[in-house]
């Protein structure tokens, strides 16, 4: 018997967790001597009050959709992929190779191949941890953490010694050719007569992120493979008994997860920086964990949670600019969201279940 209706589990629990995180964050702001109400107003106007703000909010949202989906797919197979950061870094490498070393006639073709390459590189970086978990029993959380550090060292090496243009001191690749420039929201909306900020980095990748949401939904709930992934996640022994190969499912789920994380590089590397820089991921791989937990590993939830974090990121940048609240406030909020929606889930859930049970007895 279900202790709670499905809507309460999907909506109420995350909302209460979010509320707890918000209250604690407000207390933190009070503790450092600032006004939380003022901060919220500033964040809302800064992130949502102009098309410039929206442009940044949606740019961050795009990143978090990809990394959130990546963590979600792994969660469905009961795998915890902390390696989104490293997989996204490798995705950036894939994008850079495609954009720099091939002459592309048009951005659409470049985008198609960059997407394939980013996904492939990200998936490859997830492959070894997945294989080691499935075939040799090494814990995927530890291996993906290690792979984050290895990816960062690898990228550092490649940017300093291999792909840095001669004469440049900056550990970054050359700027991508003009033909690979992705249309920004400003350029996309202008033909429709909608004025959108020119300097905001949101671009066509947002549409790919939305498409990825739909694709993941279809994959997880409408295909045989998705069914196998969920079955494996619910009970490994039952899945085995039903003839599902655990090694195969673990590896496939992680390849998809890594590929999605890699796609994030389209937005940061091809869309915004237009060259590969050292810290292109900026921790978005880790924010994917918070996004997936809050979104309950469902693409709709992930998209909404990603928008929330996009808002927090852009709003946080405004706070750092106009009030004496450092950007790290966002890291604290992110930590609290992970804590309440992930680790302390039972703390929210247990009393709520009791409330619903009490109502049910009366009925």
């Amino acid at each position: 018997m279900d202790r709670m209706p499905a809507w309460a589990d999907a909506v109420l629990v995350p909302l209460i967790s979010l509320l707890l995180a918000a209250v604690l964050s407000a207390l933190v702001i009070v503790a450092i001597g600032e006004d939380p109400w003022e901060a919220v107003k500033l964040m809302v106007t800064g992130a949502l009050g102009s098309t410039y703000g929206w442009g940044y909010t949606l740019y961050y949202t795009t990143n978090f959709i990809f990394t959130g989906l990546a963590v979600s797919v792994a969660f469905h197979a009961r795998l915890f992929n902390i390696g989104g950061e490293g997989q996204a870094m490798l995705g950036g490498l894939g994008v850079a190779i495609v954009c720099l070393y091939f002459p592309w006639p048009h951005w659409t073709i470049a985008l198609l191949f960059a997407t394939l390459s980013a996904g492939l590189f990200g998936a490859l970086w997830a492959w070894l941890p997945a294989y080691l978990q499935a075939a040799r029993g090494s814990h995927i959380v530890i291996t993906t953490i290690m792979f984050n550090f290895i990816a960062s060292a690898l990228l550092n090496y490649v940017l300093v010694h291999v792909m840095r243009p001669p004469g440049s001191m900056d550990p970054a690749t050359a700027t991508f050719p003009e033909a690979t420039h992705l249309p920004t929201l400003h350029e996309m909306l202008a033909p429709f007569g909608i004025a959108f900020s020119k300097s905001a980095p949101a671009n066509v990748t947002l549409l790919i992120a939305i498409a990825a949401c739909i694709a993941v939904w279809a994959l997880i709930w409408r295909t045989k493979l998705g069914y196998e992934i969920r079955a494996f996640g619910h009970s490994e022994s039952a899945a085995k008994y039903a003839g599902i190969n655990p090694v195969r499912i673990t590896v496939i789920a992680m390849l998809i997860s890594g590929g999605l994380a890699g796609l994030m590089a389209l937005n940061t590397t091809m869309g915004e920086a237009e060259r590969l820089i050292l810290n292109a991921t900026e921790g978005a791989g880790f924010i994917g964990i918070a996004v997936a937990l809050m979104g309950r590993s469902h693409p709709v939830g992930v998209a909404m949670a990603a928008l929330l974090f996009g808002f927090l990121y852009q709003g946080g940048a405004e706070l750092a600019l106009w009030m004496s609240i450092p950007r790290e406030l966002i890291v604290v909020i992110q930590a609290l969201v992970i804590l309440f929606t992930g680790a302390l889930d039972n703390m929210v859930r247990m009393p709520l279940e009791r409330v619903f049970m009490a109502f049910r007895k009366d009925a």
């Binding site: 790290e328 604290v332 302390l344």
Partner: protein, 321 residues
């Protein structure tokens, strides 16, 4: 490379190995009791900040150490409440603690000192001074052994000696006391411990608390002994290298010492030589920095002896009713 250079590199290895060793032993207690802890990094970071901040304000490094341990214990308690009391996911809780520490330390540092997320430099009584062991100066002229004693063994802060003394102590506690036996049992088969009438929850909280103390000392070492003051994100992945060392050591105290010395040595080499020219090819510094992680993956893959974690690790214990 002459003799004195070797001594200096080894000396630097010991100093870099100390925080790893303390954090690694911290993780050892926790994981041996069945509580995975990927929040070592965050606990060290919080301890480093509070140790640095209080040591600066009071100009007393011992109060700083206490504050560091306190901060680390508070996060440990949070981890305990989440993973033992509410039976939450221990890994997720660890991730949350890492971010909480990364954010809060900068936020508070900025609010207290307004120096861009760091504490002011520590001077005088705010730092742990190097201890000169007896006869170090008298013995220095002795060939070979003299410099080893005077440079390598003598002249570290007291926390270094505490860290190294923790290794035999941890071995003794885990393998020669009743508490240690129970602690190991609770990580392998908590139901058996429960049946014997010993509190699983109590033991696990005790292990998590010890973990907090040791992480606190590790963090305090970073900001008050290794360096003079806290800087943003100063742990720089050390908590994860300690975790790697713990796996490398297969959850055993003496091997933890060897693993941490090895990783400390790699760090010292990378720090001193940047790119190493081996004639035929050059080993880039990035490879040296990544080596601990690569070695850990190799060990985890089971190609060099299998690393088997405590059996009940990561699983919350649900008492039967």
């Amino acid at each position: 490379m002459d003799f004195l250079t070797i001594i200096q590199v080894l000396d630097s290895s010991i100093r870099l190995a100390t925080p790893l060793l303390l954090a690694c032993l911290a993780g050892l207690y926790s994981e041996r009791a069945g509580i995975f802890d990927i929040g070592l990094e965050g606990k060290m970071l919080a301890a480093a900040f509070f140790a640095g901040a209080i040591a600066f304000v009071t100009a007393n490094v011992w109060l700083g150490l206490l504050a560091g341990i306190g901060a680390s214990m508070a996060l440990s308690l949070l981890h305990g409440v989440a993973s033992i009391t509410f039976r939450g996911n221990q890994l997720i809780s660890g991730v949350a603690i890492n971010f909480l520490a990364a954010g809060l330390t900068v936020l508070i540092a900025q609010s207290w000192f307004s120096q861009g997320g760091r504490t002011p430099s520590l001077m005088g009584g705010g730092r742990f001074d190097p201890l000169t062991l007896p006869f170090a100066e008298a013995l220095e002229p002795v060939p070979f052994l003299g410099p080893i004693y005077a440079e390598l063994i003598s002249g570290h802060s007291i926390l270094v000696y505490i860290a190294f003394a923790m290794v035999p102590l941890t071995w003794w506690i885990l393998f020669r006391t009743r508490f240690g036996l129970r602690l190991r049992a609770v990580g392998e088969n908590p139901a058996a411990v429960d049946t014997a009438g010993v509190s699983v929850v109590g033991l696990r909280f005790a292990a998590v608390a010890i973990c907090g103390i040791l992480c606190g000392i590790a963090g305090a070492y970073l900001s008050t002994a290794l360096q003079a003051g806290f800087v943003k994100d100063m742990t720089a992945g050390r908590g994860f290298i300690a975790l790697a060392a713990l796996i490398f050591a297969k959850w055993r105290p003496w091997y933890a010492l060897y693993a941490c010395l090895l990783f400390g040595f790699l760090g010292a080499i990378a720090l001193r030589y940047q790119n190493i020219d081996l004639g035929a090819f050059v080993v880039p510094v990035q490879f040296m920095n990544a080596l601990p992680y690569i070695l850990t993956v190799v060990i985890l893959a089971g190609f060099v002896g299998k690393a088997i974690p405590p059996r009940a690790g990561g699983e919350p214990y649900v008492k039967e009713r």
